[in-house]
């Protein structure tokens, strides 16, 4: 193995350990942590890792502090961003069940997210609650919304307003979701 290859192989290992294993309460690693452990060329190491993960249907995802995706991030934006490993392709509904989601809960999450998107990213909890009650048992709706908040999909402020939180930004292609829902045949 050439010196250069060995250099990146060792960095790749360290990056894999950091990204796959949970280190903090929130999954993923901040850019500054990667820079500290791997070095300033960590974006390059992550690019190599992403190529390795492609055949496994996984990818390295960058979630910036800003709500929107950044085209050409600066060093500072990268340092503040969170890096995660996520599924590259699609899950089958049966697989969702395997990773701990009941179909009802997942449907509720999809509805809550798309409704909040349509309301400009902010909606009173009461409205989401009423919408979910149409198809989910009433006793379960409150528990589910609390769960979405706890997992980081939604955030709630003191005025009982719901927002989209970091996990939705990381995991869900919001535009595609709304488009698909509108195109879905009822």
């Amino acid at each position: 193995m050439s010196k250069r290859k060995a250099y990146y192989a060792s960095k790749l290992k360290r990056a894999t350990h950091m990204l796959f294993y949970k280190r903090h309460k929130k999954p993923g690693v901040k850019g500054w942590e990667l820079r500290k452990t791997i070095g300033s060329d960590y974006p390059k190491v992550l690019k190599i890792m992403d190529d390795f993960l492609k055949p496994l249907d996984l990818q390295v995802k960058t979630v910036f502090e800003e709500e929107k995706q950044v085209e050409k991030p600066t060093q500072e934006q990268l340092d503040k961003a969170r890096f995660l490993i996520e599924l590259r392709g699609e899950l089958a509904p049966k697989e969702a069940k395997m990773i701990g989601w009941r179909i009802d809960d997942l449907a509720g999450l999809a509805i809550a997210i798309s409704y909040i998107i349509s309301k400009k990213g902010k909606s009173p909890r009461k409205e989401v609650d009423e919408l979910l009650r149409e198809k989910l048992p009433g006793w379960k709706v409150g528990i589910n919304i609390d769960r979405y908040v706890r997992y980081g999909y939604l955030a709630q402020d003191e005025n009982e307003q719901l927002y989209l939180d970091w996990r939705t930004r990381a995991e869900v292609d919001q535009k595609a979701l709304v488009d698909l829902l509108l195109r879905a045949e009822s």
Partner: protein, 273 residues
């Protein structure tokens, strides 16, 4: 025409109503175009000449501020509607109510990329945990250690207390004055210009003795037997003994100077580094 007092009262009520409407639009995410800004501005204008006292003028300013917030919301609303993410909430609401749960989930999993995270243990962490477990003292033994031991009462002589370092064999002030005299003689012997390097005076054969000398030196300086001369750029510090203990004037603020005295530094000094 209403009398002036009635006119003012009506004006205040109208402004209050505008403020409340603006606040509810902002707080409850309602459509900001529900409010007719132009009409409300006209109302504010109409009553403005009536206001004379500061409270009324503040109410007027608050109304303008709230209306400005609504205009900002309207601008954001227009911007959002022009983006590709905008969907009519009523349309989406209708759609969501009519789609089957299974279809919603089928749609969602197409755009959902859940994060991968592992929480399982590794061989290394297991080995480390085992090592910790082996070295961990059983609880009943640890509790024994913490239990207070019964001590019988007895008598001790002064010599015994001095030996145990509970009492000193001379008074502290006597000890301090001896130390001051030692400083003066060292300065006369090894010092320059009436001062001596801090390290040369404080550092001793053992670390324990060094700590003790640093402790005594701090009292020499505090009680006015000596002073410190610090050259920050050269990173040098000198002790300058006074011929007579200086009397501290009450008005002057005393300054604390922290001096690190680590065992590593002392070892380096011992090795002559």
């Amino acid at each position: 025409m209403l009398p002036e007092r009635e006119q003012k009262k009506l004006g205040r009520e109208k402004l209050q109503r505008i403020i409340e409407t603006c606040k509810s639009i902002e707080g409850r995410s309602l459509d900001p175009f529900l409010i007719d800004v132009k009409d409300n501005i006209d109302t504010v204008k109409k009553y403005f000449p009536e206001w004379k006292i500061p409270e009324d003028l503040c109410l007027d300013a608050e109304t303008i501020h709230q209306l400005a917030s609504v205009i900002k919301l309207q601008s954001e609303w227009v911007k959002h509607r022009s983006t590709t993410l905008y969907t009519d909430p009523f349309l989406l609401d209708e759609k969501i109510r009519r789609i089957e749960k299974v279809d919603i989930v089928r749609t969602f999993v197409k755009v959902w990329h859940p994060i991968v995270e592992l929480e399982q243990v590794s061989i290394q962490s297991l080995a480390e945990a085992l090592r910790y477990w082996e070295s961990l003292v059983p609880l009943n033994e640890r509790w024994n250690e913490m239990a207070p031991t019964e001590v019988g009462s007895g008598t001790a002589t002064r010599e015994e207390l001095v030996n145990q370092r509970i009492l000193r064999d001379e008074t502290f002030s006597q000890e301090l004055e001896d130390f001051w005299r030692e400083l003066k003689s060292q300065v006369a012997k090894n010092g320059e210009n009436g001062k001596i390097r801090y390290q040369s005076f404080v550092y001793a054969e053992t670390y324990k003795e060094t700590v003790n000398r640093a402790f005594m030196t701090s009292f020499l300086v505090t009680y006015g037997y000596a002073t410190l001369e610090i050259h920050p750029l050269e990173e040098e510090m000198f002790i300058v003994p006074y011929e007579k203990p200086a009397v501290k004037t009450g008005g002057k603020q005393l300054v604390s100077i922290p001096i690190a005295l680590t065992a590593e530094d002392w070892e380096k000094w011992k090795r002559g580094e």
